[in-house]
Amino acid sequence: MADEHDDDPDSGSLRHVFSEMRAVDEDPPARGLAELMAAARAHAPTPLPWWQRIAHALRQPPALAVASIVILIGGALVISRPDATIEEVAPTTRSNVAPTAIPPRGPSTPPQDERRAKAAVTPKDMTPPPRPRATPSAAGESAGHLQAPSSENRVVPPSWLGANSNPEQESAPSQLGLQQLSEKAALAATRGDCEAAKALATRVAAQDPAYYRDHVASDAAVAKCLN
């Protein structure tokens, strides 16, 4: 054993004396004992209340480690299932609005609920005339638009108001349409399809006689068909 005496057998008699000396160890004086106990009482920390003991235990490294692991695992679970969270929210909004906003009615009569919803969203002076819904998808769009009565929705008018709300924006597409019609008429006349050329020219003339006179009637091919 490493902890054995590193000496020779001659020291046996010495050890005998040591053990005898130990046997007659002196007792310390009683003086100072009371003083020590008083000091021990004075310095003894007062027992902590239960909540502080819990807080102290939580501050210990094992408790912190367990808390960290729980947070990490919880975070990993939440992050690994992002779709579940999104799906949880999305159906809620749809289910709240869609069934009431798109009742199964005919396209000619706008639903009462929808009108009420629009009234809630749109200011009174902007309330549009009831418009027929061409397709259920359009109705769905509109319903989706109505379902969130936010300030954004109140400021931006519905798309079907756009034609009346900004005449400047309207003139450009109309010019473009006339130009396209006149070009198509010219092409048809060049091909020799005078019927189509006439029909297109008539549409341009109906929309803008001045444009017809300057751009369509002046075209040689079209003029030949018209004549």
Partner: protein, 200 residues
């Protein structure tokens, strides 16, 4: 209540405010610590003061005590450091001489007085007393390094590893110091060899 409790657990219990735990520690270690200090410094009055100071330091340092540390290692490190400081202070003041008074009082004898003559003591009790006194002188004559190791090993039954922790040196150094201490004691007490053999 705490009689079978380990020193370390008692210390932790005291840290929680249980004064009775400290009382048990005090009753367990007061006597061995006192005798260790007494043999180290060789003066009863100083030993009493150092004993008191050792336990005062235990009380004051209780908050910082960690359960992982062996209580006796901590306690004897405190006591040993106090003894070392004390002997160094005393060394600066005066050098001990064989014909200097052992105590501060005028009536106390000298070291020469307690070293017995060569004549054999008549009764066994007297022989033991002579031996013990001679041994005490021989221990006091050891170097400080050797003395502390010897006292912890022979009188406190400490393992070499623990002595190394208390003293703050490698275990092999402790063993080496112990060997030298025993060698020195054997030489010092050579003339009392027969007396030691006679002693029961």
């Amino acid at each position: 209540m705490f009689n079978d409790t380990a020193d370390e657990d008692l210390m932790v219990t005291y840290q929680k405010g249980e004064v009775r735990a400290f009382e048990v520690l005090l009753s367990r270690h007061r006597k061995p610590v006192f005798n260790f200090i007494l043999r180290f410094v060789g003066d009863r009055e100083t030993a009493e003061d150092l004993l008191q100071e050792s336990f005062m330091r235990v009380i004051k340092g209780a908050e910082a005590y960690k359960r992982q540390a062996k209580f006796t290692t901590w306690l004897y490190t405190i006591a040993r450091n106090l003894c070392v400081d004390q002997t160094r202070r005393r060394k600066h003041r005066k050098h001990a001489s064989l014909d200097a008074p052992m105590d501060s009082s005028e009536e106390s004898g000298t070291l020469m007085d307690v070293i017995p003559g060569n004549e054999m003591a008549s009764d066994r009790k007297s022989v033991n007393k002579q031996l013990h006194e001679q041994m005490q002188i021989a221990i006091a004559a050891l170097s400080e390094d050797q003395r502390e190791v010897f006292l912890m090993r022979e009188f406190l039954d400490m393992p070499f590893k623990q002595i190394a922790d208390v003293v703050g040196v490698p275990e092999n150094t402790v063993k080496s110091r112990m060997r030298y201490a025993l060698e020195k004691l054997r030489l010092e007490l050579d003339e009392y060899k027969d007396l030691a053999k006679v002693a029961p």
